[in-house]
Chain length 160, copies 2
DNA sequence: ACAGATATCGAGACTCAATCTCAACACAAG
DNA sequence: CTTGTGTTGAGATTGAGTCTCGATATCTGT
């Protein structure tokens, strides 16, 4: 049986929601994918499999998957939201490359601890947090360095 | 002279852009505001002052202000983007209350240091970072606790 | 297995923030 | 004044995400 299928079915049942083929198909695809995927990717997969699922249903199912905790929604601030499986995985934060778009995951327990501490001081009850670091991955940093080697080019740094 | 006016004028000139009344009006309003404001707020201010500025111009000018570093764009992930002045201020992160929408600012040098360290280990060149903690402020935490005092209500925790 | 009650699906309309288009305008330089 | 170029605003456009509602699939009891 596919990863998380049991858990999602139980979560749906606990809310008196129905276990449908479309919902399980969306679950399967997110679980099969390794990275941070978007809606277009999912629609493309369903098209290939000759098992089309409407955008509305994909969005609705992803919302359920996120609420169930099996999937996480990632807002990069450019274009569509991305989704990644969280079933069997632990919390992590993201480094996003402005050059190639690669998303690098990392965790740091000390940072997490300090967040809790800061919130405790401010009497703030944490529900979730998002730490995104934007910059350039090793590969893109090297490229950038070589390009800027001759004439120092200060144009196009930010992106709106 | 209004805060940042000199700096913005110089930044515009350095890009061969013109110092116009509309641009300075947008700068003034963002500098005058104390909090994290959105486009609707700015339009309302201009309407009150009988000095209307079009949405297009507001967006375009904010983009320039962000690129110049005088203003920061804050994406909360719900509705419009927000903007806050950064002129004369230092970097900070945000706690966002899911109850009342309040935005609490905080800084923690140790967290910043650890971010640098993690990125160094991954050979990632930092450009910017965003740390947002979502949860409930002191006031809203108390309200929530009293409401849930009797029957434990597990509905409606997330939002989308 | 069957039937009724009800949740779900899909196509497309719709919302809304943000961007784009382009004609009228402003302004600096000659 | 005239020309060249940057700017503005009204409205059109884009695009992600949501909503509507008639048709359809799932569940529950018999
Ligand atoms: Mn991830
Ligand atoms: Mn702030
Ligand atoms: Zn890269
Ligand atoms: Zn609050």
């Amino acid at each position: 049986m596919r990863e998380g299928k049991q858990e999602f079915a139980e979560w749906l049942a606990s809310r008196k929601l129905r276990v449908t083929g479309e919902r399980m198909a969306v679950l399967d695809e997110v679980m099969r994918a390794n990275g941070h995927i978007d809606i277009d990717y999912l629609q493309e997969q369903f098209r290939k499999q000759k098992r089309p699922v409407s955008r509305a249903t994909i969005y609705r199912t992803l919302s359920h998957l996120v609420q169930s905790g099996l999937v996480q929604k990632v807002l990069t601030g450019e274009g569509q939201a991305r989704y990644e499986k969280m079933y069997g995985r632990q919390h992590h934060d993201h480094m996003i490359c402005l050059g190639c778009g690669e998303i690098i995951e990392f965790t740091n327990d000390e940072i997490e601890r300090l967040q809790d501490w800061v919130c405790h001081k401010k009497r703030f009850t944490i529900v979730t947090h998002t730490l995104q670091i934007k910059g350039f991955c090793e590969k893109c940093s090297a490229q950038k360095a070589s390009v800027e080697g001759g004439a120092t080019d200060h144009r196009r740094h930010g992106r709106n």
